[in-house]
Assembly symmetry: C2
Homo-oligomer: 344 residues x 2
């Protein structure tokens, strides 16, 4: 069934071959293939038959050359080795994007950028206009990669924004509400000395989660103490380290809200090491609802963010942007919700 059987000695069948077999001109075949109007039913049938018989599949490169579209989009993940593997967040994004794209003719190019060399390669790549649009996740405040992408003028959609005045389109989850509800929950449990372990401060999501933490505290009339805020970088080690610091600085804390599940897992480990019981002594809440949250001991209470849906929304937004390049940029905020397990 694959075109091999139909081979007329030559290589793969071309438009021209189909035209010849169907007894029509190239133009007509092209119109049929692209679903354009203005083809008589008679001609259309003949062409469709010829296509089936020959097993014709249009040549992407030729089409690309003629239309100067690439029929592909790039998903750029600018992260170091470990994060991609350890955070299922990325895998979910990929899945969402891929599933949305599978409805279209667009191909998904995956580009991981971690080294300086890879960044330079990316520059050449984008300049070569080999994609019609770009998706990018995990953007830091003044990420050179993001600036590179922005400077190309290609339709772009970010997962997460760089700041409140992000000029590009983006899809974000409700970090403020998520953090807020996590801390509300902790307060509702009667905890009053609630600490937080933040993500890297050059990421807007981290800052907004801190803000959510602040607001929940303030609304409850609990003072925000700088000593209760420690910083991490989303990794497990950083969470462990931050928790250890907090424990020294504020021995009386009774809860901690962590900006990622990974950090929460690290924090739990630090707590366990010094013999604090979870949640009896210290309640712990994470952020992401990654698979590991169900495997910690005790299972982790965490803020779920719909990462696959995020990927899907990003793809959808990008498609719109590619279709109507002029239009102003848009943003989508997806809601989060608290998954209560046993750690808080």
């Amino acid at each position: 069934m694959s075109s091999r059987s139909a081979g007329r000695g030559e290589g793969r069948p071309t438009l021209e071959a189909v035209a010849a077999l169907a007894g029509v001109g190239r133009g007509t075949v092209s119109r049929v293939v692209n679903g354009a109007a203005g083809v008589s039913p008679r001609a259309r049938t003949a062409v469709e038959q010829a296509i089936a018989e020959l097993g014709y599949v249009p040549n992407r490169a030729a089409r690309s050359l003629a239309t100067s579209r690439a029929d592909a989009v790039a998903l750029i993940i600018p992260e170091t080795e470990t994060r991609l593997a350890s955070e299922p967040f990325f895998a979910s994004i990929i899945r969402g994007v891929a599933s949305e794209l599978s409805e279209t003719e667009l191909q998904l190019l995956l580009i991981l950028v971690s080294t300086e060399r890879e960044r330079r390669r990316l520059a050449g790549f984008l300049d070569g206009r080999r994609v019609d649009g770009v998706l990018m996740v995990s953007v830091h405040a003044d990420d050179p990669v993001a600036e590179l992408v922005e400077s190309t003028g290609l339709p772009t959609v970010l997962g997460g924004r760089r700041s409140e005045l992000e000029p590009l389109s983006y899809v974000n989850s409700d970090n403020l509400g998520g953090a807020w509800s996590a801390v509300r929950h902790l307060l509702g449990l009667g905890r009053r000395r609630v600490a937080t372990i933040t993500g890297p401060l050059d990421m807007e999501a981290s800052c907004v989660r801190i803000e959510g933490y602040r607001r929940a505290l303030e609304e409850a009339g609990v003072a925000v103490e700088p000593g209760l805020i420690a910083h991490g970088d989303f990794s497990e080690e950083s969470g462990e380290r931050a928790m250890a610091e907090l424990l020294v600085r504020e021995p009386t804390l009774d809860a901690v809200f962590c900006a990622s599940d990974l950090m929460a897992a690290g924090a739990m480990r630090a707590l366990r090491r010094v013999g604090r019981r979870i949640p009896t002594d210290v309640a712990v809440v994470g952020f992401d609802d990654s698979p590991l949250a169900r495997h910690t001991e005790p299972p982790m209470t965490t803020v779920r963010q719909p990462s696959e849906e995020m990927g899907r929304a990003m793809a959808r937004l990008l498609l719109e942007e590619i279709a109507a390049p002029g239009r102003s940029h848009r943003q989508i905020i997806l809601s989060t919700d608290l998954v209560v397990r046993e750690s808080a």
Copy 2:
């Protein structure tokens, strides 16, 4: 003059533009760009200067059309929603492949195939010869996707093989040795009623791991009892279910070797539910050494397989195969090792 591009906006510079500026012919520029021999130093310098001045980047589509190479490879992951996200194995493979590919000019196309529709789309895609080669992981015994790929005749490298007489090139980890050493370890601990929870039987890796289990037992003079073998599908739920079954069927078991960390996590949950202590009552060993293995309670003893290296090796093999299409297929086996933590 073409009204579209050459008008005022003056699109990206072409080979011809570079040639004009450098005062040479198209052929010479092409030679320089492709690093071909037979260009005088003088001409080469002039061309390089012109390229820099114009910021010329070759058009991939045009090159593709002329050479009928795609300069891209596809990584196909035929899996259902959840596995991609829950198993860091895939993320590691992706990273390995991407990092190896970043040394080349090849692009990485990611193709997730889970629905029937996506499979059909893949068929057209491959027939369109839009990639120079294919990488595929997680292949089941008579996976229609694998057969589809094989039938295209494209250079292909599998991650894992379909059977012992796999005709395609593949990279595999030493499943036999891994399983063997896991069970050895259990036996060395004095356990004598060692159960196993297998992966899906239509995957060769599962069968080989069972074989490793068998051999270790036989070598130690311990009888292999069918009742101690339960089947799962690599997922956590299946592990939990299988463990529950085993517990009913063989209440006296004192150890279990699981063919994946995820299943081991499920098994641990099942054990905990019925109050069996780990490892005191039942020792548990997993397979993969995924990040979650460090977060279970207690931390899991497991067989590490070098998944990123696996991705890298796959890419390397594919490059060779693309370069020398005629040559016979090759295989690479990567060794595994046991990571002893606290569950066994």
